[in-house]
């Protein structure tokens, strides 16, 4: 536990600092409808860093940072000008997202071209994507915290024009305010990407803001929700990375996705319950129709492609092995049981022997060269045996799928299709029995006047 705190304390503080400023900027970005501007600015910053590398500066040097800032300022100017209402409109108007996408693609392509001439170019790109959250230093965190506090104060002082523009309103000298917004966003993104990488920074910007917009009405409340989400997801993601042995940045991004999905499910369930109360039978029919279609797809998938992966069936068989066993002969059932037991035994033994090998490798246990070589060979052999047993299970599962094809797949497909069709035709059939005409759209005023003339 002490080790976890020692390793994760600084990354967590860095995440909390990032969560604060990005939650605020995220609400602006959502309001303006320029979702991918962050990715475009991050890519332009990467291009700036690459230019610095070409000029002979190191990837972590101050010069690389200032190159990145200069390039980002240029992009900020382009984005600020592109949004102006006085820019060409009508048939030639294009959404600002198109320009953002073009800037992203062009900057990415130029970065690839330039990095081809730079030592370890591919590595630089990879590190820019995943970041180096685990390696963050106290000095770096203090520097970005001071910078973001400054940006926050500046935005507080200029809050009126910036919030009006984010809400779609107009203010005098809008181009200048837009430029200030994109410039400060570029400054924040350039600094954050060096610590957390492009993917994580995008998640900090967009996901908390989306959840805040879903769950709250006013800007201050949305900001509070976004902050709480950003900080708690950081803690959960870092904890998950430590507990389940996962790459840190990717684990936090996945936790953000899970938080967003959970919120969406919650909102969906609330909306469904509300509609059920209001319009119960119709909603139940629609739900049954969708469920029937899903069952049809799963059943048809098994019937047509028995050799493909059918995870839903794997889950069912794991919970109730009888679903699988009924399609196996007595001899095959015995092979399955023996292979499963052998895998369990082999995996446990491999774990124990690998720990022994690691101890010998680290010098905490004394093993002679001959013993070490024998251990290595034994491990190699045991590894192959476990892999072989897994292959046996996989082959037998394929055999089971072939047999389930017509007995499980076809009836499921037919049953699912029947439920969907019934859900679709039941209202019409009931109306016909009652002698009602099918529901028609309301007549337009023109039709009404035509009818009255007749």
């Amino acid at each position: 536990m002490t080790l976890a705190i020692e390793l994760l304390a600084l990354p967590f503080v860095a995440c909390a600092v990032l969560a604060g400023i990005h939650a605020y900027f995220g609400l602006h970005v959502l309001g303006r409808g320029v979702i991918f501007v962050d990715l475009a600015l991050a890519q332009v910053a990467a291009l700036g860093m690459t230019a610095a590398l070409l000029a002979g500066h190191g990837p972590q040097s101050d010069a690389a940072y200032y190159y990145a800032l200069a390039f980002t300022a240029l992009a900020a100017g382009v984005f600020a000008l592109a949004r102006r209402p006085e820019s060409p409109a009508g048939a030639h108007a294009v959404p600002q997202e198109a320009l953002i996408g073009i800037v992203y693609a062009a900057a990415a392509a130029l970065t690839v071209l330039a990095l081809d001439r730079v030592p370890q170019g591919g590595e630089q790109i990879k590190q820019l994507l995943v970041g180096g959250l685990l390696g963050v230093t106290a000095d770096e965190v203090a520097r970005v915290a001071a910078l973001y506090a400054g940006v926050g104060v500046l935005h507080w002082l200029c809050r009126r024009p910036l919030l009006t523009l984010a809400a779609g309103g107009s203010v005098p000298h809008a181009a200048a305010w837009d430029f200030l917004f994109y410039l400060t966003l570029g400054l924040v993104v350039t600094s954050s990407v060096r610590i957390a990488g492009v993917l994580l920074v995008f998640s900090y910007l967009i996901v908390p803001a989306v959840v805040g917009t879903w769950l709250a009405d006013s800007l201050p409340r949305r900001l509070v929700v976004a902050l709480v989400i950003g900080v708690s997801v950081s803690a959960l993601g870092l904890g998950a990375a430590f507990a389940w042995d996962l790459p840190t940045g990717a684990a936090i991004v996945a936790t953000f996705a899970a938080a967003l999905a959970a919120t969406a499910l919650f909102r969906g369930a609330v909306a469904l319950a509300r509609r059920l109360r209001r319009d119960g039978a119709r909603i139940l029919r629609a739900t049954a129709g969708v469920a029937g279609a899903l069952v049809f797809l799963l059943g048809a998938g098994l019937a047509v492609f028995p050799g493909a992966d059918h995870f839903w069936l794997d889950v069912i068989e794991r919970a109730a092995p009888a679903v699988r066993d009924v399609f196996l002969t007595a001899a095959e059932r015995q092979v399955v049981a023996e292979s499963a037991a052998a895998i369990e035994r082999g995996t446990a033994e491999l774990g124990r022997l690998r720990a022994l090998q690691a101890d010998a490798q680290w010098g905490t246990r004394d093993l002679g060269p001959e013993q070490r070589e024998r251990l290595r060979q034994f491990l190699a052999g045991r590894d192959e045996l476990v892999a072989g047993d897994r292959l046996v299970l996989r082959t037998l599962r394929q055999r089971v799928r072939e047999r389930q094809r017509f007995v499980v797949g076809v009836p499921l497909a037919l049953g699912g299709a029947a439920v969907t069709v019934a859900a679709m035709v039941a209202p019409r059939w009931r109306r016909r029995r009652r002698g009602e005409s099918p529901r028609m759209p309301p007549a337009t005023p023109a039709e009404v006047s035509r009818t009255s003339r007749c």
Binding site: L134, A241, A380, L391
Partner: protein
């Protein structure tokens, strides 16, 4: 009139790395024109091939490659042009390490180095087998010069063996020293020079490590007194610094290939540079 005839008689060889390029040049001498398809300063696994290199591959008489899964881009490149008639997979000429990974992979997980560790050129002893395979291929293209290729090879290996004796004696005082590597690049080098690579910073090659793994690594380094981290020029700086600072270790940057470092100008200089850096670092710890 003579120049085109000489040029036509030259054997064109495409090597996938600069290390193999140097070994081909050592064996072929003036009878070959050899180029490397990759830049040693870029990730060899994630190569995007250029049109000029495709043209080189298409017009070459011999392809010399590392093999295993070291050049995933090569299969696509070989489909785009007619590949050379003579294909030398140097991994068949050496005894591989790290082949324990099961090939009966029922779980079909993605894995770099799945067929054994491909960094075998980092053991100078392996140059014997590699150059034998190269000399054999060149001899098949140009049987008249077989004796010349064998003589070139013998002279090169004599220089290499003299160098190997020198390098081994330089690192002999540190035999059995435990080190940690960033990427799983150094098992052949470590075995030849008596070092023990106790662990790697990347738990799985090419995947960033988890905090739990990094924590365990730092603890083990502290407990076992491991005070050297072997890094390559492209290693993730912040992470390596974190591990080294946590364990009180020193980072030594070694060149994994000819040209990956300005001082590693050829195959012999590669070992000269790496051995000198390592010996200096280990001496500084005493």
């Amino acid at each position: 009139m003579l120049l085109p005839l000489v040029a036509a008689a030259t054997i064109t060889v495409a090597a996938t790395t600069t290390d193999l390029r140097d070994l081909v040049a050592a064996v072929g001498g003036e009878r070959v024109r050899v180029e490397s398809l990759t830049d040693p300063r870029q990730d060899p696994h994630a190569r995007e091939i250029h049109p000029r290199q495709l043209a080189l591959l298409g017009k070459s008489d011999v392809l010399v490659r590392v093999g295993l899964d070291h050049e995933p881009w090569l299969a696509r490149a070989a489909k785009a042009v007619t590949p050379p008639a003579h294909d030398v997979d140097c991994s068949r000429a050496v005894t591989l390490l790290g082949t324990e990974t099961p090939r009966l992979r029922a779980d079909r997980g993605a894995h770099v180095h799945a067929f054994g560790n491909p960094h075998y050129w980092l053991d100078p002893e392996n140059a014997h087998g590699i150059t034998a395979a190269i000399a054999d291929a060149l001899g098949r293209v140009d049987p008249d010069d077989r004796a010349l290729f064998d003589e070139n090879r013998r002279r090169f290996l004599a220089r290499l063996d003299a160098g190997l004796a020198r390098w081994r004696s330089r690192l002999a005082p540190y035999e059995g020293t435990r080190v940690v590597a960033v990427h799983d690049t150094w098992p052949y080098f470590a075995r030849r020079f008596g070092l023990v690579v106790a662990g790697t910073v990347e738990e799985r090659p090419g995947v960033p490590p988890s905090p739990a793994y990094v924590g365990q690594l730092i603890e083990r380094m502290r407990a076992s007194g491991v005070r050297v981290v072997l890094a390559e020029p492209g290693a993730p700086g912040a992470l390596v610094r974190r591990v080294a600072d946590g364990a009180g270790a020193r980072v030594v940057t070694l060149a994994p290939s000819v040209g990956a470092d300005p001082q590693a100008t050829d195959y012999l200089a590669l070992f000269e540079t790496n051995v000198a850096r390592l010996a200096d670092a280990l001496a500084g710890l005493r």
